[in-house]
């Protein structure tokens, strides 16, 4: 794969399985089936056996409406499958209790030097020290087992399993696609400090309930989420006032690395990545002003409970001007909500969000006419996400044959659609998450706030191709624990592997 897209040498693979294999080859029928396959590929993660027939029966518009209202769909199968993922429904404090930071726990228990070297016992340590380390690790392990405590990486694993299982089983396919989309748009990095314990709540209670509501509600919820406040450092941003200094000194008696002041990190990414876009018309001055407005938006005890709190002592009370709009002095918490409002109502935001949605659902090169239409819907409906989606799904561009099969599947889409197309069953084994990572999409672990780029060239390295082929072989030969697929319609497992590994199947 030398070029930017995967160019198939053999376009159509062995005619082993086509959804239409048993149907009559009348052109009209094929075209209708193609349309259905297209909708199932773009609105969801591809067809499971029987899906095409079902949509054929109820019609594409009815299917789209169904998907735009996930709350009307029962989802027992998926819900049942994730029931063992106990961290997903825990409160933040319970989660910290059940999945404690091992280092912190060891300190609390008075166990010394349990595991200084994260990767293994330190080979440089003297033998006596190594023995001590081993003993301390065993002691900690014993305590954790006795008290049924788990380690934080399990939280990550449960999040990944949940995504895989719901992607495979959920009737609410669009809801899963939009969860993936918005989490990536408002990306946080699981491995950054307290975000290990905050990301679960972020996905379950901030992103998932707001995937198809008003954009401004989602924006505000992320702005006030402990996960985002921590990830982009706004929880530390404060006015440089003496009152704050005293507060800091108390809080960080042994941390003299700070003098109070603003932190621009969130303010900049809020405009560049979450709302206006980098060419959306803001200046460095706007970044500073937004940061001032958001001072005091912080987290109460990130490592104990972690809830949003507004601290007036940290807030810059002066007047601000954001994108030409004056925010009068002494606005308190309202300064921040005013900023969110200004940004959500800005035409650049309508354009930027529309572009990203069209890129996701239609093409790597979003057609300008459709972007304009979707942006108009945004402005007309006060940023109603489901209305924007409706505009896309019924558009000429979405339904044009030129857009069929032209989007490269992300590794997550590839893996989930593979299991779905073979009518598979899975418990979301960690080997699947690891495979997705090898293909270049380690879920919840993209360090930069951009999230994964949504373009074919990002997914098409030689290494990623080899990882995809390996997954095809492993899955079809039944070597992934907890995961089974049906080979119905294929000669054998190899034929199924070739189907999943074919150039065509990499696209949606």
């Amino acid at each position: 794969m030398r070029d930017k897209t995967i160019r198939p040498i053999v376009l159509v693979l062995l005619p082993l399985l086509l959804v239409t294999a048993t149907a009559s080859p009348a052109p009209l029928r094929i075209s209708e089936d193609q349309k259905i396959v297209h909708v199932l590929n773009r609105i969801g993660f591809g067809a499971r056996p029987g899906d095409v027939e079902r949509v054929l029966k109820i019609g594409i518009p009815a299917y789209i409406e169904e998907q735009l209202h996930p709350e009307r769909l029962t989802d027992t199968l998926a819900d049942d499958r994730v029931i063992d993922l106990n961290s997903l429904t825990m409160s933040r404090s319970k989660l910290l209790e059940q999945f404690p930071d091992p280092q912190q726990l060891a300190r609390q228990l008075g166990i010394r030097n349990p595991n200084q070297n994260k990767n293994a016992a330190d080979p440089n340590a003297a033998p006596a020290d190594q023995r001590k380390q081993a003993k301390a690790r065993a002691e900690l392990q014993e305590y954790m087992v006795e008290n049924k405590l788990q380690r934080p990486p399990q939280l990550l694993q449960q999040l990944i399993s949940n995504r895989i299982i719901r992607g495979v089983y959920s009737e609410r396919q669009l809801q899963e696609v939009m969860t993936d989309f918005w989490f990536n748009h408002f990306n946080v990095y699981w491995d950054k400090g307290a975000d290990r314990w905050l990301t679960t709540d972020y996905e379950m209670n901030v992103i998932r309930p707001r995937t198809m509501g008003k954009f401004k509600d989602l924006l505000l919820a992320t702005a006030q989420s402990p996960a985002m406040l921590f990830y982009l450092d706004n929880h530390l941003s404060s006015a440089p006032t003496p009152a704050v200094e005293a507060l800091r000194k108390r809080a960080n008696a042994n941390n003299n690395k700070r003098t109070p002041g603003i932190n621009e990190n969130y303010a900049r990414e809020l405009m560049e990545l979450h709302t206006l876009g980098v060419d959306g018309g803001y200046t460095q001055k706007d970044v500073t002003e937004v940061a001032r407005a958001l001072t005091g938006w912080t987290i109460d005890q990130p490592k104990v409970n972690g809830t949003f709190v507004f601290r007036p002592q940290m807030h810059d009370r002066g007047e601000k001007t954001v994108l030409g709009q004056r925010i009068p002095a002494n606005g308190g918490i309202q300064d921040g909500t005013r900023v969110i409002e200004i940004l959500a109502n800005h035409p650049s935001t309508a354009r930027f969000i529309s572009t990203k949605l069209v890129r996701r659902f239609v093409s790597d090169n979003p057609p300008q006419a459709l972007v304009d239409k979707v942006a108009a819907t945004y402005r007309k409906t006060d940023g109603d996400i489901s209305e924007m989606l409706r505009t896309i799904f019924y558009s000429e561009e979405f339904n044009s044959p030129e857009s069929y099969g032209q989007k490269m599947k992300s590794p997550f889409e590839y893996v989930v659609s593979s299991i779905r197309t073979l009518g598979g069953d899975t418990g979301g084994n960690q080997q699947i998450g690891r495979a997705i990572g090898q293909m270049g999409q380690a879920l919840y672990q993209y360090q930069a706030p951009t999230g994964f780029p949504d373009r074919a060239d990002f997914w098409t390295s030689d290494g990623a191709l080899v990882a995809r082929l390996n997954f095809a072989v492993t899955l079809t030969s039944g070597r992934i624990p907890d995961t089974r697929v049906s080979l119905n319609g294929f000669k054998d497992a190899q034929a199924a592997a070739l189907y999943l590994g074919s150039p065509d199947f990499q696209k949606r």
Partner: protein, 406 residues
Amino acid sequence: MSQSRRFFLKSSGLAMASFAAVPSFLVRTAMAQGTTASKDRPILIAIFQRGAADGISVVPPFGDRNYSKARPQIAVPAPSRSAAETAIDLDGFFGLHPSLSPLKSIYDEGHLAVVHAVGSPDNTRSHFDAQDYMEAGAPGNKGLPDGWLNRYLQGAGKADATAFRAIALDAKMPRTLMGAAPALALAKIQDFDVRGGNPKQAASGDVYAAFEAMWHNSTFDAMKMLKNANPQRFQPENGARYPNGQFGQSLLQMSQLIKADIGLEVGFLDIGGWDTHANQAGQLTQRLREYGEGLSAFYRDLGDRMRNVVVLTMTEFGRTIKQNGSGGTDHGHASALFVMGGPVKGGKVYGKWPGLAPEQLYEGRDLALTTDFRDVFSELLKKHMRAADTAKVFPGWQPGQALGIL
């Protein structure tokens, strides 16, 4: 090859002293004719520090009295024998961050150069635009489809080029290497093979052949070539110890690919974690330790082979001169980079120092730029990689006078 080796005692922070060989590329001109062509091929390894590394912490200008003023808590202290964790003196004005101690001897041997106040003239403070500009080699231009390293490869076509001529050790192809010239991207050597779930077991011949028929041959050619060369048989030499973690492992693999003589000319890898908006001092202490240990291990490991290898580091921009309210720094402008290798005229900090007084700062807050990154990159391509011309590599850019790093 007859080589004069001298040994010296190394004691960089390790409890046990160990011996390491000093590369003997001091005699490279005498040797050049006697070695095989493939081993004399110039090699360039580009390393991107993603997230905007703070140049004035990496190479602190402790001699500028405004430095500690702007950063009362997080400035790297001037060198001092009595205190620990102070800058390592380079020339009485600049120092290295204390975590970079493994690099000091390479600097002293004359094979590590620093360029300071270097970067991109574009005023963006967006990581993603700035990375894009630097990787494209064209600040302010979003229209270029390919990266500067790829355009270099396009212009320097070689009849004997292999699939491993250009490689990124990454699951994705970096922007720098995207373009018409063939390049490979893979995260780990050991994963680059079609298997059936069991690492020891190859996929059955049928599946393998069928995949090969439906995909580009180049991927499969590279796979076979790698299997035959088996680069992983090369263990670190000369006492080199790579740090744990992805950066160290990628450098080790890069060294293995070089030793395997499979035609590597251009290598790329990146290291994240430089976006230090909060608690910068602690973060950089860790990050720079891994960084310095990695670069130093690579240099030691390759030993004599460093005579035709140059490592070039880069970062999208620097950070604010003043510390912010969280013991960190926000997005700035110019930063510092390293050039390391046999052909490098090191032991020197290159570039004009713009000063840190308030009126000397870029837009009143950042380190001003005195060297455009394209000047450094052009010099490297011309003098090390023997590129005839870099006008197409850096469109619209007329390189200024060479700094004389090579």
